[in-house]
Amino acid sequence: MSVHEGAPPGAVAKYDELQRSILRGELVGLVAGTIMALGAVIAISLALTDVRNEFGLRADFAYNYAGVQQVDFVKYLARQGKQPAQPSAEALQAYSEWVAKNPKTVNVQVLNKYLGEKYNETANVFTYMAAYFTPGVGQSCEYCHNLQNFAAYEKPQKTVAKAMLIMQFELQKKWVNTIPRPEGQPLYHIKCATCHNGQAKFWNTSLKASNPELFGIAGGGNPTPYDMRNVGITLNGVTPSSYEVVDDQYLAARQDADGNINFYQVTANKDTPAGLNATYRNQYAMYHQNTALGVGCDFCHYGGYFKSYVTADGTFKWPKTQARHMQAMMQDIAINWFPQMPSVENPNQLQNYYAQPNCYMCHRGYVVPPGAYSFNEPFVPGVVSDIKPLVDLPLLKPILPNQ
């Protein structure tokens, strides 16, 4: 017996036809909607590609034979609408008078100690200064020098620059020259531009407050949208303590007694503390490195097991061991160098407003920092002048492929 018994004549057929017409409409709509959605996705992707190219968000890098991106510093500046700075005409005039009077340097203390006797010639010092200092910090000679007496320490900027130069060579000597690397991979040099990128003041806390996306939580903390602080997650103005963010005063990358950076080893074992906060922190530090170097996770990691230094087929992940080395350098900068940089306002005082270093500070979205140079002059290690590291951080025991 049908449940429709007693229905008005024709009602069942009318209801059936209604259902069928709805289905036909749905099918047509489904197909049309799918085609339109696919079209929209393609159109938006193409548009975004254009936008990225338009605003220079695409890296125009070349790969060297070791597979490392290289970015041209001049192009990098051009993309921000800048040109590398040149010594001013006034400064060049003053220099020509100075070099005529003093063909040998008067008071050069750092370059000649790290790069050799060659830098006891004023002309060679000028060449170095014009090649690296001026474009690096975006300032002409008079920013630091008294043009009437280049040897004088009248301007505090010169004192700061000297301390920075010592730091540059010490970091080069201790960390960059010792980075574990595959045979054939070129070694780059830290110069002023590596961190400064054409700006004299670029990494202090007041800038940080106005450009949080550039800084993030220092020391392996997080830049960019992933940073919980940068997206403004606070409780009454204070970051919730249940999310134990990396404090600016401390670095994410901490060494244990064996020189291992255990902070990044979050995979559980019997010694891993309960809770996921360490994992959260680790992941934010990793996202920081993603964006700071413009790479995906598998640039350093084997996707199947992030803890491993080799992939399933035995390929050694050099970038992972290199990143570990660089994190230790970052720690060195934060602990030993930034805290003893003299203040520009008063060179007898220490800077107290620097922001902590992080990967983005130099890398700016590229594997090789745009301001890193290939520099072929011999390096004379071991002569340190005014400032020394506060703490003698041990070099990491490098993790190398099994022979």
Partner: protein
């Protein structure tokens, strides 16, 4: 109208029935009667409290600024207490909000399950729906309650927020090696993909038989040479065998519950029984390639 013929027996029971004609293409347009009852009321108010507490926590985080609230909604999160609190009750702003919200969320789900159970039995139905819902409840309990208790830290549980559950998924996988190598996760994915496949096959089959009055299920099953017979013939032609109108639903329920139950077992075994699923994969010999990434066997 034929539609009214269908609904007459129900209409006699209640006067609260409404019809939403504009939804005709989407579903049955009858709204109501709805039954509240004690368990429904408890579930409702418990859920209200959970939402209220969550909103308070989120509101405090954005300084009660509605614009910031909307802007940051995707990442706003009530975090569980930090590991230092273990399983203790934490101050409100250090995870106490999360504990309260989770308590009421759990109560809501339990009350809701009981509510489905009582309504099913009151309607003289077998309690298959509450049983199916319990599978999801088990997965919830495993993630939010049982696993954190076994690990002695509420910090192991996900926060409450849109991004939070995605982050937890990633971080939980990272912490326990690699969840893709968790065999229970594999089974859970099998259930997930299997149930979507079954759902698609079933839904398409029913829609395919619309011309044979499959929207009038009872009639159609009773008559020969109607939709069901043709649909079953279709699958015999395609696969060599077919489900029955009964067994297809058993399959669907089985696969769907398998997803949640296997997932829950996968969560529960992570930590106390296997801290690192990748290493387990190495031992089990299921890692790809020549396994250079596996630690050497001692």
């Amino acid at each position: 109208m034929a539609t009214e013929v269908y609904r007459e027996p129900f209409e006699r029971r209640t006067k609260t029935v409404r019809y939403l004609k504009f939804l005709e293409g989407l579903a049955d347009t009858q709204i109501g009667p709805i039954y509240l009852g004690m368990w429904g009321a408890l579930a409702f108010f418990s859920y209200l409290l959970c939402v209220f507490i969550t909103l308070i926590g989120w509101g405090e985080q954005v300084g009660w600024n509605p614009i910031r609230f909307l802007r940051e909604l995707p990442v706003l999160t009530l975090y569980p207490p930090p590991p230092s609190y273990g399983l203790q009750i934490a101050p409100l702003r250090e995870g106490g909000y999360w504990q309260l919200a989770t308590l009421f969320l759990t109560l809501t789900l339990v009350f809701w399950t009981i509510r489905i159970w009582t309504r099913a039995t009151a309607n003289r139905l077998r309690p298959m729906v509450p049983i199916a819902f319990s599978a999801a409840l088990f997965l919830y309990a495993a993630i939010y309650i049982i696993h954190p208790i076994w690990m002695n830290s509420w910090n192991e549980a996900p926060g409450h927020g849109l991004a939070a559950i995605l982050l937890w998924t990633n971080h939980f996988s990272v912490k326990y090696g690699n969840f893709y190598y968790n065999p229970f996760h594999m089974v859970s994915i099998f259930g997930l993909l299997g149930s979507t496949l079954l759902l698609a096959m079933h839904g398409a089959t029913i829609l395919a038989t619309l011309a044979y009055n499959s929207h009038r299920e009872v009639d159609e099953i009773e008559s020969s040479d109607e939709g069901t017979h043709r649909a079953q013939l279709l699958w015999r032609w395609v696969m060599g065998f077919n489900a029955t109108a009964h067994s297809i639903h058993v399959w669907a329920l089985g696969f769907a519950t398998l997803t949640a139950v296997a997932g829950a077992i996968g969560v529960l075994t992570s930590g106390p029984f296997e801290p690192n699923w990748y290493l387990w994969g190495c031992r089990a010999g299921i890692t790809p390639g020549i396994q250079a990434s596996c630690p050497p066997v001692p």
